[in-house]
């Protein structure tokens, strides 16, 4: 009965109800998007870093991985020292450099990683074999740029001197495979070679040096404890756990998180105000009716319930529409932010997390309930005789 009366009351002013639902839907969509933005970056980045079980990154002291061109010297000794630390199960050395694929009129420039194929976590092989001493695996973008395919031979060089037009190292390598590079975007031209090959081509400057180590720890070991042990064992490095890296990324991108929080809060307030206004006006228009209902014996609780149900109805309809609208707008906004240059493919700014999403929408519905309470209380507290007289005369 209460539900029927509430539904009839909302249907009486169909256009007004529709507009209110639309307003709440836009607010709900915005709220949902902002929740997705706030949680998406963190989870997406943590999931990217946690791939292949590497929990710690070790880079030259005071730097973040690949943030500068600094390298770690005496890499073999450093790797041994890290491997000795309790809980460390694997150490993957990585040396980054720029390579030039020669042959065409203009050499093709690409980012190259020197890795140990047995423990690497930088790429996923899509086709072919891991790199050996005289082979490399390449990204599709590099293969496309060079017109090469698996099995072809490339003339690659490192350390270009623009004045002398010479290279510190140059060798002919066979493309042994195609790979997707985990931390690079699909458009990046990239290749992976054996670490020793990249070090040798880099000349004396790169001998026994790496850009970073990726460290895998046992599942029962706290990565933070291993991180501290690494920094204690090697004072010339900075060790960063996945949690620390996520915190650093969050600091750098805190703008987006705070924007999400502010806009989410504004959406919630707008939704609340909209439902409050609609229900209040609706109650004001029906003061006479409510007084009659009370006069013929309808209980105060019944009136309150009916009005609160109206608020919930508006909020629920708005939240349901907002859920659909929000998912679509999130995809649109995500496609815009995915345009950041060099963003890894695996990173998404908007991630639909059912728990967070439904909690946010539940908050909106709760605000709808709260929005109905004041007008309901006001309507139920009306003096019956006075209101009837005023409405009849007025």
């Amino acid at each position: 009965m209460r539900f029927q009366l509430a539904a009839l009351s909302l249907r009486r002013h169909a256009s007004r109800t529709l507009l209110a639902v639309l307003g709440v839907a836009v607010s709900a969509a915005m709220l949902l998007d902002m929740v997705m933005l706030a949680t998406g970056m963190r989870q997406s980045f943590a999931s990217l870093l946690g791939r292949n079980g590497f929990t710690i990154r070790v880079s030259p002291r005071g730097t973040l991985p690949f943030d500068t061109e600094a390298t770690i010297g005496q890499a073999r000794d450093a790797a041994v020292a890290i491997e000795r630390i309790a809980g460390v199960t694997a150490v993957a050395p990585v040396l980054g450099t720029t390579i030039h694929v020669l042959g065409a009129a203009n050499p093709v420039t690409a980012f190259a990683l020197g890795v140990d194929p047995a423990v690497q976590g930088d790429y996923q092989l899509l086709q072919g074999q891991h790199p050996t001493a005289n082979t490399l695996v390449a990204s599709d973008a590099l293969l496309h740029a060079t017109g090469a395919s698996v099995g072809d031979t490339l003339d690659v060089a490192v350390g270009f001197d623009p004045q002398l037009r010479t290279y510190t190292g140059r060798r002919r390598v066979v493309v042994s495979g195609r790979a997707r590079f985990t931390y690079l975007s699909a458009d990046d031209r990239a290749a992976a070679l054996q670490l020793a090959s990249v070090q040798a081509m880099g000349g004396a400057d790169r001998t026994d040096r790496v850009s970073l180590f990726m460290v895998r720890t046992a599942p029962n070991v706290d990565p933070e404890a291993a991180r501290v042990a690494i920094e204690r064992a090697l004072p010339r490095v900075t060790a960063l756990s996945t949690a620390g890296a996520v915190a650093e990324a969050e600091h750098r991108l805190s703008y987006f998180r705070q924007l999400a929080f502010i806009l989410g809060a504004v959406s919630l307030i707008v939704g609340f105000l909209l439902v409050t206004t609609i229900v209040t006006v609706s109650v004001n228009e029906r003061i006479g009716e409510i007084a009659i209902m009370r006069a013929i014996g309808v209980s105060r609780a019944h009136v309150v319930h009916q009005i609160v149900i109206e608020g919930i109805g508006l909020s629920l309809a708005g939240a349901a529409s907002g859920l659909i609208l929000g998912v679509f707008t999130a995809k649109w906004l995500n496609s815009i932010l995915r345009g950041f240059p060099g963003l890894p493919d695996a990173i998404d700014f908007f991630l639909f997390e059912p728990n967070s999403a439904f909690r946010a929408l539940a908050l909106l519905v709760a605000s709808g309930i709260a929005a109905g309470i004041y007008p309901a209380w006001r309507a139920a507290s009306l003096p019956i005789s006075g209101t009837l007289r005023e409405e009849a005369v007025g």
Binding site: S15, R16, L19, A20, L22, G23, V26, S27, A29, M30, D33, P60, R61, G62, T63, D67, T68, A70, G73, D161, P162, Q163, L164, R165, P235, R236, H251, R252, L253, S254, Y255, L259, L263, S267, V270, L273, L274, T277, I278, V281, N284, T329, W332, L333, I336, L337, G339, F340, P341
Partner: protein, 272 residues
Amino acid sequence: MPSPAWAQRIDSIPPWSAAVRTIAIDERLAADAGLHVGDMVVLVAEPGRTSGDTVRISAIVQRRADPSEVARSEYRIRMHLGQLQDILGYGDRVDRYAIATAGGAAADSALRRINSVAFGFHAYPSREIAVETSKTFAVVSRFHRAIGMITIVASATFLLCIMLLKVDERRRDVAAMRLMGISRATVIRTVMLESSFVALLGSVFGVGLGFVVSAFVNAHYQAVYRTPLRFAIITTGTVTYSVLLSLVLGIGAGALAARRLARTPPLTLFGR
């Protein structure tokens, strides 16, 4: 080597001694490491090296208001080119030259000449580099525009709803006016005038709120990122756009509701 002219000197002393070379450090490094003008420090190419160059801090400089540096947390040191080349063992080499020209045609002519005679390197116009390095900000700008569009749709719906309700509340007044013989056109104009006044008042309040919020946003993010960069700027264009949008929406909603009321028979409006 970046020019010290890019940064604003906020504290300095004259060179102390010809024997000890001097450097400038950014205020972030000075604050975090507790360094002051006159302090002696040792510069090394990488951590762990025992030999280095002992220098005196002669200036503390403020970071540039450069968006590309906002999220980067590293420290900055300004030193003489030769000094850096010595420390790094870089030889007589530089990463790039920045070339000042008289501008316009002179810049294009210099560019052509350098590229035709230079062996081994290439000159780029600054605008080309600016386009390349500002891609990140172009994405952020597109994102802001998209968020702005969603916000406008949300606020337009809200405004439309409120205006319709506000006019709807006046049904008895409108009925009385119509029964007194006031024409439909006058009723519509009156209601529209009212709604535009409400929209204008709301806009003025909104602009004021915008100024307060932008001041807060600037203060907050300047502290978070330790930069003099201004994150929110309210321009005349922004104010004009928002006030006009609000007025159009307010008047439109008022007109819509007023027309509906004016067409309804007065006695129906009275509920009779």
